[in-house]
Amino acid sequence: MTTAVEPRRRLGVTVHPGLVRHGGVLAVLLIIGTFTALRSDVFLTGPNLLNVSRQIAVVAVLAAGLTLLMTAGGIDFSLGAIAAVTHGVTAQLITAGAADWLAVTLAVGLGALIGLVNGTVVTLFRVTPFVATLASSTILSGAALLIIEGQSISIGEHLAGLGFGEVFGVIPALVVIAVVVCLAIGCVMRWTAFGRNAFAIGGNERAARLSGIPVVRTKLLLYTLGGLLAGLGGVMLVARLGAASPGTGGLHLELTVVAAVVIGGTALHGGSGTLVGTILGVLLLGVVANSLNLLQINPYYQDIALGAVLMVAAVANHLRSRRH
C-alpha cells in the first residue's frame, strides 16, 4: 500500500502486490477456516458467524488506531486498559441515570483524554512509549476495578440497540461501526497529510522534523486518536455484554490487538503498515479463538495458540523484510 504501484510479475502470472504482501496470513486464515468448517457443523452457521463478528468488531476498532500509531513508530500498551476503564464508566453513568448518548460521549471523550495524556508523556517528557504506556496500563487496570468496585454492573436494556441491533436486519451494528472506523482510518492512512506524516515519522523521524512536518503535534494526535478508539471499544464492550464486569478488556484484549497488528505486517519500528493486513490479523485471531471453542479444545490452549500465531507471523515478517 505504501509504495509499489505496478503489479509484480512472477512465474508469468500477474500478482497484485497486496496479495504478495498478505498472502501468508490469507492462506493461514483460509486453511484454519476450512479445517474448522470440516470438523464442526456450527462454524459456518449464521448465529456463530454473527457472534464471532461481534467479538472481533471491538478488536478491529482498537487495532485500527494502533496500526496508525505503530506506523509512526509509536506503541500503546494501555488500549485494553482504556477500554476497561471506559466500559466501567459507561455502565456507572447509565446506572446513575445519565442518558445513553451522554454516557457514551463522556466515555469516548475520556478515552481520548487518556490517550492525550499518554501522548504528552511520550512526546514532551520523552519517555519511551513502551514504558510510558505500560505504566499507564497498570494504573488504568487498577482504576477500572475501582470504578466498578470490583463487581458486575448491569446496564439492563440500555445500549441494546448498539450491542444487538442490526442494520438492514442482518449486519450487527457493532460490525457496522468497526467497518466505518476501518474505512476511515484506511482513508486517513492513504489520502491525508496526517496519515502520510505518520509514515514519514515512523520511517525517519529526524528527516520528517527537518522537512517541517509537525512531529510533536502529529504524535499527540495519534495517541489521542488511539485512546478515543479504545474508549469507543469500551462502549462497544459494555453494549455487547450488557454489563460491566471485572476482567473485561484489559491485558488480554491489549495483547490480542497488538498481535493482530503485528500479524498484519505492521513494522514494530514504524515506517510501514497497512490496514488490510491488520484486518486480516483480526479475522485470523477471531477465527482461531472461535475454532478452539467449537472444537472443544481445552481453553488453556487459547493463549498458547495466540502466542504461537504471533511468533510465526513475526518470524515471517522478518524474513519478508530481509528479502528486499
Binding site: 497529510a193 525517519n204 520528517a208 528486499h324
Partner: protein, 512 residues
C-alpha cells in the same frame, strides 16, 4: 567506443605467476524484473588493489554485495581461491576470507577502539575478558598497519577518517585475503583520504587483494593496480591503471554521455542575505562570522568532521548555538527551531542523506514532496499531482531508477543524493546550506549538481557550502572560509588561493 571493444577482445589476462583470489563469471542480478547486473565477469588477483568504477547505478555496490554474500546472484559462477561456491551468506563469505567495509560507518560509538576491533572475539583469560591483552593487541595491530589511533579512545570521539581506518583494521584482523572497500573516501578530505590510501597500500603489500570503489578518479588511477569499469550493469573493461589515463577512463564510464564542466562566469552579487555572527557550538565551532550575499556561493572548508560539520545542526534548527546569531535577510532566526529556520527561507541539505534526509521506506516521489508538505501543511495528499511533480523533478535532476516509483532505499547512493537535492532546492530557498552536496556522486552527476548550484546562485539564492573537498570548493565558491579545530583561520576569495595553499590551511599550515 573502441575502448569497449578493446576491453572485450583483449581482457587483461592475469599473469601466470600470480594467483587468482576471486573470480566471477557471467554473474546476473535483477531486482523485481529490473536488471542491475548482466553477464559480469571479474577477476581479482592476490595482492592487487583493484578499483571498481562506474556511474551512479552502474551496479558497483550490487557486485560487491554479491561477492560478500549479501545478495544471491540470479545466475553465473563465483569462485573463491579456485573453488566454486553456490549461495553465499555474509557469514560464509567471511569464513572464506572475504570482508567488506560499507560506506556507512558501523563501529559501536560507545565502545573503545580496542573493543570494536575485537568485538565478538575478545581474548579471554580464565573465562574472562583479558582487558590488558585487548588493548596491547589492539595497539600492536594498529601500529603494524600504521594507524595512529589510541586503542582506549571511544569510537564515537574519532573523526570520520579514523573511524574508517579502524573499520578497515578490524576487517583485516579477521584474516581476510579479500577486502572490499565501498567508497571509503567519499566523505573524506584530502589529507584524511591520504591516510586511507596509505593503509590500502600497506595491505596490498601484505598480499591482501583489495576491491576499491570510488568516484574520485584521480585517486583510482593513483592507488589501484587495475581498474574495472561497469556501465549500466555491464562489464566494460578491465585494464592496468598504467595503461589508462583520466579522459579514457571517463569515456569508458560514461559511454556517449560526456560530462561537461562549465566555466565559471562572473556573478553579480546582491544584498547580504545570510549572516552568521559569532556562531559557536561548544568547542567544535568557535565564533564563526560569515556573510553571504544574494547570488554568492561561500564555502566553509575544513577537514572531515571539523567546524563546518557543525553548521548543519545549527542552521537547520536541530541544535541551539551556545553563542552567536543567525540572520536571514537582516532578521534574526529563532535559534533551535526547525520551523523558524524553514519559515525564514533557510534550506539546509544534509551530507548524511540517510540519517537526516530521506525516509528510506517511502517512494521516491513522496520523498520529493516531503519538504513541500512540511512547508504548506495541506490536509490531503493528491497522489496524481505528487507523481507528476515527482516525475518532473526526477527528469530535471537526472534521477535514474529502474522501476516506476521504488522505495528510495533501493536507489543507488548517487541517485539518493540527487533526490535529496531536488527536494530541497525546489522549495523556494532564500538562503541555502549545502553540506557535501556531491557525496558519493559520479562525475557526470557531479557536474550536473555543480550546474544546479550555479543556477541556484544565479537566481539570487545565498549559498553556503560546507565541505571537506578542496576541488569542489574551488569549482563552486567565490569565497572560502577555512576552519581548523573549530576556529576560522582564513577568509579569502577563491581566485586568490591555489589548491595546495587551501589544503595546507585546512590541515595546519600558515596563511600565505
Amino acid at each position: 567506443m573502441d575502448l569497449t571493444l578493446r576491453g572485450r577482445a583483449e581482457p587483461a589476462q592475469p599473469p601466470a605467476h600470480t594467483s587468482v583470489a576471486l573470480e566471477l563469471r557471467g554473474v546476473r542480478k535483477s531486482f523485481g524484473g529490473a536488471v542491475a547486473l548482466r553477464d559480469v565477469g571479474f577477476t581479482l588477483l592476490a595482492g592487487e588493489v583493484h578499483a571498481l568504477v562506474g556511474m551512479n547505478g552502474a551496479g558497483k555496490s550490487t557486485l560487491v554485495k554479491i561477492i560478500s554474500g549479501a545478495y544471491p546472484p540470479d545466475g553465473g559462477e563465483l569462485l573463491i581461491a579456485g573453488r566454486r561456491h553456490g549461495a553465499l551468506t555474509p557469514r560464509r563469505a567471511r569464513a572464506l576470507g572475504v570482508s567488506i567495509v560499507h560506506q556507512q560507518r558501523m563501529l559501536v560509538p560507545e565502545l573503545t577502539v580496542g573493543e570494536n576491533l575485537f568485538l565478538g572475539r575478545m581474548p579471554l583469560r580464565l573465562g574472562r575478558v583479558d582487558w590488558n591483552r585487548v588493548h596491547t593487541d589492539a595497539a600492536r595491530l594498529l601500529a603494524e598497519l600504521g594507524v595512529e589511533v589510541a586503542s582506549r579512545t571511544t569510537a564515537g570521539e574519532l573523526g570520520p577518517a579514523e573511524q574508517t581506518l579502524v573499520e578497515i583494521a578490524r576487517e583485516t584482523h579477521a584474516g581476510g585475503e579479500v577486502l572490499i572497500l565501498d567508497e571509503p573516501t567519499a566523505t573524506l578530505g584530502g589529507s584524511d583520504a591520504a591516510r586511507v590510501h596509505r593503509l590500502v597500500r600497506t595491505l596490498g603489500a601484505r598480499g591482501v587483494a583489495v576491491v576499491y570503489i570510488s568516484h574520485h578518479l584521480d585517486e583510482v588511477l593513483d592507488l589501484a593496480d587495475r581498474v574495472t569499469v561497469l556501465r549500466d550493469g555491464r562489464h566494460v573493461t578491465t585494464v592496468p591503471t598504467d595503461r589508462m589515463d583520466l579522459p579514457e577512463l571517463v569515456r569508458a564510464m560514461t559511454g556517449d554521455r560526456l560530462p561537461q564542466g562549465r566555466p565559471d562566469t562572473g556573478r553579480t552579487l546582491g544584498e547580504v542575505v545570510l549572516e552568521l555572527d559569532d556562531l559557536t557550538a561548544g568547542t567544535r565551532l568557535d565564533g564563526m562570522d560569515v556573510t553571504v550575499r544574494a547570488g554568492e556561493v561561500v564555502a566553509v572548508l575544513g577537514c572531515a568532521g571539523d567546524g563546518q560539520s557543525q553548521l548543519f545542526p545549527l542552521l537547520s534548527g536541530l541544535r541551539r548555538p551556545t553563542r552567536g546569531r543567525i540572520k536571514v535577510a537582516g532578521r534574526e532566526v529563532r535559534p533551535g527551531s526547525v520551523t523558524a529556520a524553514l519559515g525564514a527561507g533557510l534550506r539546509c541539505v544534509t551530507g548524511e542523506r540517510l540519517v537526516h534526509g530521506l525516509v528510506p521506506e517511502l517512494g521516491v516521489d513522496e520523498n520529493l514532496a516531503l519538504t513541500e508538505r512540511g512547508l504548506h501543511r495541506p490536509w490531503l495528499v493528491r497522489w496524481g499531482r505528487l507523481h507528476r511533480a515527482g516525475g518532473a523533478a526526477r527528469t530535471r535532476f537526472g534521477v535514474v531508477t529502474i522501476q516506476a516509483d521504488p522505495p528510495v532505499s533501493t536507489l543507488s547512493g548517487g541517485n539518493q543524493q540527487k533526490v535529496l537535492l531536488a527536494r530541497w532546492l525546489d522549495s523556494g530557498a532564500v538562503a541555502c546550506l549545502l553540506e557535501e552536496p556531491t557525496n558519493g556522486v559520479d562525475i557526470a552527476a557531479k557536474a550536473d549538481i555543480h550546474r544546479l548550484v550555479d543556477d541556484l546562485a544565479a537566481r539570487g539564492t545565498a549559498v553556503l557550502l560546507a565541505s571537506a573537498d578542496v576541488d569542489e570548493v574551488l569549482r563552486l565558491a567565490g569565497r572560502v572560509v577555512v576552519v581548523r579545530a573549530g576556529r576560522t583561520v582564513a577568509d579569502l576569495p577563491t581566485g586568490q588561493v591555489s589548491r595546495d595553499e587551501l589544503v595546507a590551511l585546512s590541515v595546519g599550515g600558515t596563511p600565505s
